[in-house]
């Protein structure tokens, strides 16, 4: 017989409502209690059936290909990384753009650019941002009120790696003035010898265009005005990567946030 306290814990565990420490403690209990484990698993199965209590909606057909493209890109990047020995980055970036002859480091960017090109139309067709994105729109309103920007587009970036799943990134871009503002929240520290760097993905440029460094404070927040170092004809996507401290003229590091309008 399982007492009510342990039933409560099982219900919370089934709903992922226990804090990490309590969840670990409960899992230790489960390891020695088959009955409790069966209850916890049953309750999780039961809770998951609630997902079926949602009005039926089909995802847009193009989403399937977008997801398949993403996992293909991940698989290729993983295979490439596994097949290539790690080479230390350049000791320090130079002010002059460095020509990159090797395709290895550019592969994730090539994939990102390809992704951007193939999906740009879909992103652009989405129309105005929806009401629930109040926070993002508020950002734009705030900027407009301060006359910082007049005609702007708002891009939202999403995480490309697990550690950034809670990060939010908003970019307000004024194509006419060729400058923008990037705001990040909940971003992990870049780490010793590293900086976050912004890139603009424009189909007219073979490689991402440098948007400059994005210093993140101790609270994981950044708010930076930027102007890309080359003219942008069409900012299809924006990306944030982790680069050697001080930044690099050509992207080399992992993309941690990527997105568009």
């Amino acid at each position: 017989m399982i007492d009510e306290h342990r039933q409560d814990l099982a219900a919370e565990y089934a709903l992922d409502a226990l804090d990490p420490e309590s969840a670990r403690a409960f899992e230790a209990m489960l390891a020695n209690d088959a009955e409790l484990r069966a209850l916890a698993d049953d309750l999780r199965e039961t809770a998951a059936t609630l997902a079926l209590d949602a009005p039926s909606h089909l995802p847009p057909p193009e989403l399937r290909e977008r997801i398949l493209s993403r996992i293909r890109a991940e698989a290729q990047a993983t295979a490439t990384a596994a097949a290539t020995p790690v080479v230390p980055p350049q000791a320090s970036p130079t002010a002059t753009p460095v020509q990159s002859g090797g395709g290895r480091n550019l592969l994730p960017w090539a994939l990102a650019a390809g992704f951007a090109i193939t999906t740009a139309a879909l992103w652009m067709e989405r129309g105005p941002l929806q009401q629930d994105r109040n926070a993002l729109l508020q950002e734009a309103r705030e900027l407009r009120e301060r006359d910082v920007l007049a005609k702007v587009k708002i891009a939202t970036l999403s995480s490309q790696v697990e550690a950034y799943s809670k990060a939010t990134a908003v970019i307000v871009w004024d194509a006419e003035k060729q400058h923008g503002v990037v705001k990040l929240t909940n971003v992990p520290p870049a780490g010793a010898g590293k900086d976050y760097q912004l890139w603009v993905i424009d189909p007219k440029h073979p490689a991402p265009v440098n948007g400059g460094l994005v210093p993140v404070n101790a609270d994981g927040i950044a708010r930076v005005s930027f102007a890309p170092d080359q003219p942008i004809s069409k900012a299809d996507k924006f990306a944030i990567s982790l680069e050697p401290a001080g930044g690099v003229p050509k992207a080399t590091g992992p993309i941690v946030l990527l997105g568009g309008y």
């Binding site: 089934a14 992922d16 997902a51």
Partner: protein, 191 residues
């Protein structure tokens, strides 16, 4: 468990095993089987089609990367996938809450999107299952149903639910526990 459900579970588990080896066609097949139900679910949670699409994308990317960690002894593949997407959606809901402090809006109003009629044939079966769940929820006392739904869909912690409903935390935990147990009892009874 009915033979049809058991067969579905085996098919899904086999697909996950293939995905764990990098089989893209298995991933596509699993997407076709799960995406209608999962998309409907995350849309109900996020109430935002764009956000639901992003959650679906993140969730399936996670499934692709972590298929090898699926344990058939612990849950069905669909439950495993539901919980992955639910956590992704909750992460976004909490970020949203932090950003614009719309916690009230995000939890009080559950969505009432008009239902579509163009669901795939496979969706008909899922609709039947959905009807079963809805009929089960009717059997549960209203306050337990409310607590269970808030706990499952809203991303609120149990403490936040207690605060929101103006009830002691212990009472909320008991409502959720009793609600889930009754739901399980009913669903097992009709399976």
């Amino acid at each position: 468990m009915s033979p049809a459900k058991e067969s579905d579970r085996q098919i899904d588990a086999q697909l996950l095993a293939r995905i764990a080896t990098g089989d893209e066609s298995a991933f596509g097949a699993l997407y076709d089987r799960f995406s209608p139900g999962l998309f409907s679910f995350v849309l109900k949670m996020t109430r935002d089609e764009k956000e639901a699409e992003d959650v679906l994308q993140e969730g399936f990317a996670h499934i692709w990367r972590r298929a090898a960690t699926y344990d058939p002894a612990r849950s069905s593949p669909f439950t495993w996938a539901v919980m992955i997407l639910r956590n992704k959606a909750i992460d976004r809901l909490r970020v949203r809450q932090r950003l614009d402090r719309t916690i009230e809006k995000a939890t009080v109003e559950f969505s009432h999107f008009p239902e579509t009629d163009d669901a795939s044939a496979g969706e008909a079966e899922r609709r039947d299952e959905g009807a079963l769940v809805r009929s089960a929820l009717v059997q549960i006392p209203a306050e337990q149903k409310q607590a269970v739904e808030l706990a499952f869909f809203s991303g609120l912690t149990h403490e936040q639910i207690a605060e929101k409903l103006g009830a002691p935390l212990g009472t909320i935990k008991a409502r959720i526990r009793r609600g889930l147990l009754k739901l399980r009892e009913y669903l097992e009874g009709v399976a």
